[in-house]
Symmetry: C2
Subunit: 199 residues, 2 copies
Amino acid sequence: MLSPALAELIAALKVLPGVGQKTAQRMAFQLLERQRDGATKLARSLQHAVEVIGHCNECRTLTEDPVCRLCQDPKRQESGLVCIVETPADVLAIEQTSTYQGRYFVLMGHLSPLDGIGPADIGLDKLAERFKLGHINEVILATNPTVEGDATAHYIANMARQYQIRTSRIAHGVPVGGELEFVDQATLGHAFSGRKQFD
Amino acid sequence: MLSPALAELIAALKVLPGVGQKTAQRMAFQLLERQRDGATKLARSLQHAVEVIGHCNECRTLTEDPVCRLCQDPKRQESGLVCIVETPADVLAIEQTSTYQGRYFVLMGHLSPLDGIGPADIGLDKLAERFKLGHINEVILATNPTVEGDATAHYIANMARQYQIRTSRIAHGVPVGGELEFVDQATLGHAFSGRKQFD
Ligand SMILES: [Zn+2]
Ligand SMILES: [Zn+2]
């Protein structure tokens, strides 16, 4: 009952995360009925992004440059800090806090032996090269507080130790503004074991 | 902190209904990290749809054909039924019930004098031509049960009357499987005033 071009568009929209049949239909109709210019722009941006965006040769984040703007920044190079994160979205989240002025290394995942994802798959050979070059005072481990994220943080901490580089792990605990009774047990456990002197 | 191509893609994704900055970021990262083939396909389908999809010359629904497949169906032509709906999404919803085998006329909106949307803007001149041609036994008014949808239904019913064509309005009431206490007042009012003999 749908024209082929429309059916194809609806099917293609379902590649988007969290978009099922109903939402894809709603999106397709809205784009074609009221947002044709926006739709054309989206098609072009998407095609362009897929064609030009690869990974930064230094930190592996998504970028169309050989080396991303963060890695090119001399202030960040001189900081001697490298923050290890799992995804480019984590870089963005940290950047939006404006509390960190060092460089990043983006794993694009985490160690997961059961899925066959080993150290080389998350760029740890490249990270070891950066450790070897020196100029790093501290490695901040900001992988997710999950079993895999913790295991990956431990693995990288061991690597850093071989080069006498200090490591730290970002703090995990009760979210600021969060209420204790709504925080999950694991987080609350972390909050207690990671408690600090109060002065 | 984002590369220009990535920032542009995220901005472009926000044209999609219900997609804000955070969702657009998540979509962009997922497409580039894990769905590059899907992203390419989406870009092409979108470009293609915008280029080829227009409105059916008979019923105004979205289609790349001069006359859509529903209008081309001889069974539907012989039915003598025309169902008036506001959007192509309504056609799809009705088709999915498999209870209706007639033709459609898609207003692509509703009368809205305050917004300057008059009869010609929703194709009522074209609809009048179809009324004039004859072969229509009944016009089913399936516009939304809103102030504007009701007003539009009344306007079209008056038009049909001039051509001695019977009109009907789809029933509105408590949704099947719905519980009375969770139904809004207007719907419950409709359900009472539209009650039928029970045998
Ligand atoms: Zn970089
Ligand atoms: Zn048609």
